[in-house]
Symmetry: C2
Subunit: 457 residues, 2 copies
Amino acid sequence: MQVWKDYQAQHKDRFLNELLELLRIPSVSADSRHNEDTRRCAEAVKQRLVEAGSEKVEVCPTAGHPIVYGEKIIDPSLPTVLVYGHYDVQPPDPLDLWTSPPFEPVIKDGKIFARGACDDKGQFFMHVKAFETMMQTNTLPCNVKFMIEGEEEVGSNNLGIFLNDNKDRLKADVVLISDTSMISLDTPSIDTGLRGLAYMEVEVTGPNRDLHSGVYGGAVANPATILAKMIASLHDENNHVTIPGFYDGVQELSAAERENLNKAPFDEAEYKKDLGVDELWGEKGYTTIERTGIRPTLEVNGIWGGYTGEGAKTVLPSKAFAKISMRLVPNQDWVKISDLFKAHFEKIAPKSVKIKVTAHHGGSPYVTPTDHLAFKAASQAITATFGKEPIPVRGGGSIPIVALFEKVLGLKTVLMGFGLDSDNLHSPNEKYELANFYKGIETIPYFHKFFAEGSKK
Amino acid sequence: MQVWKDYQAQHKDRFLNELLELLRIPSVSADSRHNEDTRRCAEAVKQRLVEAGSEKVEVCPTAGHPIVYGEKIIDPSLPTVLVYGHYDVQPPDPLDLWTSPPFEPVIKDGKIFARGACDDKGQFFMHVKAFETMMQTNTLPCNVKFMIEGEEEVGSNNLGIFLNDNKDRLKADVVLISDTSMISLDTPSIDTGLRGLAYMEVEVTGPNRDLHSGVYGGAVANPATILAKMIASLHDENNHVTIPGFYDGVQELSAAERENLNKAPFDEAEYKKDLGVDELWGEKGYTTIERTGIRPTLEVNGIWGGYTGEGAKTVLPSKAFAKISMRLVPNQDWVKISDLFKAHFEKIAPKSVKIKVTAHHGGSPYVTPTDHLAFKAASQAITATFGKEPIPVRGGGSIPIVALFEKVLGLKTVLMGFGLDSDNLHSPNEKYELANFYKGIETIPYFHKFFAEGSKK
């Protein structure tokens, strides 16, 4: 609508500057040294919600990082949209690979470079500005509630408790999230599904102290070598995961569904070039789109042990560690998968070492029904501003809380993401395209409009 | 001799305090942040040599850390003993496992706790004090030359050059080193052989940047997973090293030699208890004594890649690294083995990753002839002060320069070590027993006495 266009054109620069301010706060939820920054970020989000016209805005304490809540109820009889986002970000390391400091945002070639630029500060903030647009132009067509949390990057451990304790306050008709990506501005898409996650940490202990690798080498099990052998055994020669029961209940798609899925534009040469790899890797019998969308995976997120400093140290380490996470698909249960992993990892360990397996966190996979009113509204909104109907795709990432919303609040979720796969989420030089940022702010009010209209029928 | 006993009894405490001063200098050769400390340590060693009565003492610069030289020529016609030692130490990490700061030596239960207490400050310093004893009691029976270097823990890269440039200055009849251990004070022993070393570092690169393990997981080779598979493949199910040609030319001992070797006292239960392991590990078909003495081995000294910090980070890392070293036995050549490793590691790498292999340093294995005059002198000296003839054993560690002495100076080496395997060399809480320290100072003059007398015959 013209009034939205005009308002947004007029406040374009302020919208951006407000985002940059948020990006300057290093709200790294995984690192306790940043607890104060994370708290400060929550207060900043509260401030923004108040300024945008939200009411009953509150920084709600949890056992971990706080959740920011705000709402605008214009008429209880109208439908209500619950907007979810997260203000916490991934750790920035490895720092030396950033071309500019992660928490000193810079704009280059129409891109905002900063940790959290896309995941998720840049994206949830679009909703705040879209909401402001509708408030300032008196065009808000429905009730809106905001719930912006601070623990998404560490597993949203306290969100479930918050949902349970606030069922009434959070009453709504649908959850709207922008924390995923689309194929491109020319080829808009909407995620219809997300993979679940089971994140484990393993500790392998050999001798009770670091040993001289000359005096003891060859006679005592080296935990780094044993860990390598154990990790190596987790994939077979076809890159299937070898954990017994891992694939039980995995939803196999029909030939038609797979064909439809593979219709999404994908240029393997371009993909390889972008990643700088000569050859792709993955589960035999599936395409890259399927491997990242509808198949479960197991990845080593981190591994360490022994001497990792400068130069040479002839040590036989006492301990070796790894962080290993699995992406899950319908209908895998993350708790069951975590248990299967633990049991298997302990079982394959030789007597010469001791094993400790800890489950960090997890979440269940989720699929959005494409015939849901809210999904249609999102599709119409994107069509209205992009001039093209979005392609439904399966996202490879995980937003564990989406399954939680359905379980605790009985709400479906629409994943209207405006990021790009090339935004370096969780990597150095994370970015968010200015064009996507503004396009999102332009599109979101249409979602509310179409959702409200659709609900009337 | 009584004069030695008296002198040493009288200066006991000063000997110890002088050692503690040396131990307070963090001369970590592998860490460039300690270059100044290492330099300072060389100056301190020079000072001690001068005080002990050594002449022409000099801190000789090299391309790396300096070498301290000193000598006492009482009569060119008498035999000359070249004493070698090193004043550099291993890095102290992991620091949190030390019960007292590594460079603030403390004496507890008759033990000196500090990095370098045994390896090698405590041991080379015994020679300085033994030399002082003979000088002060006018009983020095032969010429003595000292060469104390600062790069032993990083591969003695500049020692070869120094030997070549100083052949005349270093002219001697034998090299005497205390940088190894004996079985115990009740069961004295002398190392007759040392293993060689080839120390490699490998870098495995997957994608050109850290990736989101959800968006890309399952479709792109994970360098940590690939590295694990590659390391796992370096040992077969019998823990033989799988690198083609690795065992070529390995000297197989006769049944009699092996039987003799296994006569050394070894209590497996005690060994396992000390290390806190339920089961030993090693090459099939060999005893623990053989695995650590006469067999070549391959150990992972360090491994790292991806996110290793607090909490969870769902990253698919761009790179993974490992430090891998091999212990060599006669007649393996460390340069050839390094090349074999590099070629093999590059060969087994899948196309989905890129590999970089760097050889850190190495050294050849060495065996001391037990019929050598100097070996006999060492044996007699130990018998004189311990009241027991020492057992000849094969040491598992490496002092690469021993082979170098033979090659460049044409000198045999006697390894008269007074450490214990339980001294936590290269580990937290490194220690050296006061009893061993004083016993060494007491024993060394006898070596010079018997070596000088034997040379006359």
